[in-house]
């Protein structure tokens, strides 16, 4: 009895379950959102509470161009996944390259912004509460962008070597989910830091 195969009425419909990669990545995204929420809450809590030093409205400029680049990269990575699903490997490589390029512009823009903040305005993480919360929140996001760029570059490499095929489209989709998350976080960071906080 204990080893008998358990069978009752066979199910009429095929037994389909969600994809492991998508579910796993969704869980990771939820956990990461929890981390970001705390940094955003700290940022909002400390708005206007710095005892000294440069204030946001004195030193921050709206990063419109880099934001457009980053948000467009969501579209390009989506296009890459669609292309791979249809087996168009070359097109996929092109869209992936565009994604990496746009993400690279974003990082370069952030680096430029920070250079100015540090050397022209004297704002560092230890200057005041604004510096503390700004660099930690934007920096945490930038770290996630960098990680995403590394992974996307790897995918680009595989794609250019012809090793990424149609059957891998779901894995690429999982990666693109992460990238969409990173872009989504930027929307929030942009609104909180550059719109609300100034």
């Amino acid at each position: 009895m204990s080893e008998a195969v358990l069978k009752s009425a066979s199910p009429n419909q095929p037994w389909t379950l969600p994809s492991r990669g998508i579910v796993g990545m969704t869980c990771l995204i939820i956990a990461e959102i929890a981390i970001f929420v705390i940094f955003v809450v700290a940022y909002i809590f400390y708005i206007g509470k710095s005892l000294s030093g440069p204030m946001p409205k004195d030193v921050l400029e709206l990063p419109i161009f880099t934001t457009i680049c980053l948000l467009s990269s969501s579209l390009t990575v989506h296009a890459a996944v669609s292309a791979l699903r249809k087996g168009k490997q070359l097109l996929c490589s092109l869209w992936l390259a565009a994604t990496v390029f746009l993400g690279g512009i974003f990082i370069a823009g952030t680096a430029h912004e920070w250079y100015d903040l540090i050397y022209k305005h004297g704002l560092t993480i230890r200057t005041n509460l604004f510096g503390t919360t700004f660099y930690s929140l934007v920096g945490l996001h930038a770290t996630h962008v960098v990680i995403g760029l590394i992974l996307l570059s790897l995918a680009l490499l595989f794609s250019m070597r012809g090793e990424m095929k149609e059957e891998h489209s779901e894995k690429l989709e999982v990666l693109s989910l992460y990238w969409h998350f990173v872009d989504g976080v930027w929307v929030i960071v942009f609104l909180v830091v550059y719109v609300l906080g100034r």
Partner: protein
């Protein structure tokens, strides 16, 4: 019923030289990605730390047995309560519960392994490393005698005590880094659990047929994602404050000490639900089997567990009633905390209803489960007392709170873990634990537990705060502390019996067979211990208790699925 099943396949390989065998075994364990082996490693690791954490508790109880004692210095004592709390929560509670989950979930859903076996192994090893990192703090810094750099800031490490100026040296950093690492491990395992349950159920196992253990682990894992994040974020902020000069919790620069409290308890309160939910999961499997009845109110149990999970995210500031939130803030958290008692109560009542009308078998496992039920009731009631904010203004941060949470952690969770051991040890090893020793373990532990933790409520009501390395003789606390300390010794003896039972039964216990308890979920349909592939053929299920249906074809569960018309009593005509 018991069949001859080889307990340990390696016993057959007598021809090989012993030393090579030992190395191969070790290599097998270190490189394994099998959920069962990983689960066992989590459990073994947790038991080691249980002994260590218990030893720390014993040292504290000796120090507190009499007023103005000089058994340990204040520095050592402060390190002890910090390490005891941190160890028990992160290196006993989490691993042992993740260990059981790892072992049981694939078996219960008819899968061959977890969704991401390598992530599983990685999560275990990073948590294991974190534990050793935390304890390395005793050696780092000024070495063993001066208790080294063991963290001494309390397990919730309030700011600004953790700032460089008040905690120089690296003790706080060991705390922070160890927990950051184990947090990563926890998220990895939780991710694995959720993905496994959603994506790897055997055919026919709709969510409404999922056994309650995986259901509750699903809720617990969801909570893990949402709760560990805030702790990780707060700890990153703390490290930045300590090393890069940021001002998150730097009150001199306008930072807020209360902000740390909010962030920590946004993690800390869901964390204790993460710890208690698996205890509920075990109870949901064990109590029905030893009452010989299906769990009463499966849909309500699912809804209550999910509800507890959600509500637990909104109650955190009941740890902060004395911080000055203002009457509006205090009132909100009073309400949220009281509300959570409703689904919790529902679960207790459902367990009682499961027992009602059953045929209760008082095995060692069931005795611990009954102990859990009684003690969880008491713990819940003292929790309701503490949710009354003005009462908490007196009792908060006193030994009443210490008594309350030990009642939950030891009286409810640890009791249920013991129950789970007695229940699933046969499945994991192929041998039964000794029932007589089990009952000795139970009674000794119950006596010691109640001596310690019932009485511990009293010093709290008499004004004794927590985290004090000694106390004045004129407060009237001495007799209580003396009795509390003696209870700790009795619990130690009981635990030694338990460890002895586990070791000796492994070699000499009666063979268990695949289904020693006549139970109903899928893990009892395969050999004990299970082969590495779990199921020879992936099963197809048609109800919540597939084995019950097989054993009782005249009264199968399939007649009573969720969504059916009112479930009714059905008299059995005959066996």
């Amino acid at each position: 019923m018991a069949t001859q099943i080889p307990v340990n396949e390696l016993h057959d390989q007598g021809a090989q030289a012993p030393r090579r065998l030992w190395l191969e075994m070790l290599h097998g364990w270190v490189t394994t990605v099998d959920h069962k082996k990983i689960g066992l490693m989590y459990i073994g690791y947790a038991l080691i730390f249980l002994v260590v954490g218990g030893f720390e508790a014993l040292l504290m109880r000796v120090q507190l047995a009499i007023p103005n004692n000089h058994f340990v210095s204040p520095e050592v004592f402060n390190g002890l309560f910090t390490m005891h709390g941190t160890t028990m929560v992160f290196f006993v509670g989490m691993p042992i519960l993740f260990g059981f989950g790892n072992y049981l979930i694939p078996l219960m859903i008819g899968a061959r392994d977890m969704a991401f076996p390598r992530l599983n192994a990685f999560s275990f090893w990073i948590s294991a490393f974190a534990g050793f990192l935390l304890y390395f703090s005793y050696i780092g810094g000024s070495g063993l005698y001066g208790a080294g750099s063991a963290p001494d800031v309390g397990w919730f490490a309030y700011a600004p005590l953790t700032a460089r100026v008040f905690s120089p040296g690296h003790s706080t950093d060991y705390w922070t880094l160890a927990l950051l690492l184990t947090g990563i491990g926890s998220i990895g395992t939780a991710l694995n659990i959720v993905t496994t349950i959603i994506c790897m159920r055997c055919p026919g196992m709709k969510m409404s047929r999922l056994p309650l253990l995986p259901w509750i682990y699903l809720v617990m894992s969801g909570l893990t994602f949402v709760a560990i994040g805030p702790l990780t974020a707060a700890q990153i902020m703390l490290m930045l404050d300590r090393y890069v000069g940021s001002h998150f919790f730097d009150t001199q620069a306008g930072g807020s000490a209360v902000l740390w409290m909010h962030f920590f308890w946004i993690f800390g309160h869901p964390e204790v639900y993460i710890l208690v939910l698996p205890a509920f999961a075990f109870a949901n499997e064990i109590i029905p089997v030893f009452s010989r009845k299906a769990i009463f109110g499966y849909p309500a149990m699912v809804a209550a567990s999910v509800g507890i999970g959600f509500i637990s995210l909104s109650v955190w500031a009941h740890h902060m009633f004395t911080v000055g939130l203002g009457p509006g803030g205090n009132t909100f958290f009073v309400l949220a905390t009281m509300i959570i008692s409703v689904p919790t109560g529902i679960k207790i009542f459902n367990w009682l209803a499961t027992l009602w009308g059953g045929k209760i078998q008082l095995t060692a496992s069931m005795m611990f489960a009954i102990g859990f039920l009684f003690q969880f009731l008491v713990a819940g009631l003292t929790g309701i007392m503490l949710s009354v904010a003005p009462f908490d203004w007196q009792l908060g941060n006193s030994y009443f709170v210490v008594a309350h949470f030990h009642y939950v952690l030891v009286g409810a969770i640890l009791f249920m873990v013991f129950s789970a051991f007695y229940y699933w040890y046969p499945k994991m090893t192929g041998r039964m634990l000794n029932e007589k020793l089990g009952k000795w373990h139970f009674w000794l532990f119950v006596i010691g537990f109640h001596l310690t933790f019932d009485l511990m409520h009293v010093p709290g009501m008499l004004g004794m705060p927590r985290r004090i390395y000694t106390y004045e003789a004129d407060r009237g606390w001495m007799i209580w502390n003396l009795l509390i300390s003696s209870g700790a010794i009795i619990q130690t003896v009981a635990t030694i019996l338990f460890v002895y039972n586990m070791v000796s039964s492994y070699f000499k216990g009666p063979i268990a067979g695949s289904d020693p308890w006549d139970a109903w979920t899928l893990e009892w349909s395969i050999p004990s211990p299970p082969p590495s592939y779990n199921f020879a053929e992936i099963p197809i299920v048609g109800s919540r208790r597939p084995l019950w249906d097989l054993k009782h074809p005249d009264d199968p569960d399939t007649d009573y699925e969720m969504g059916q018309a009112d479930p009714q009593e059905k008299q059995e005509e005959g066996a």
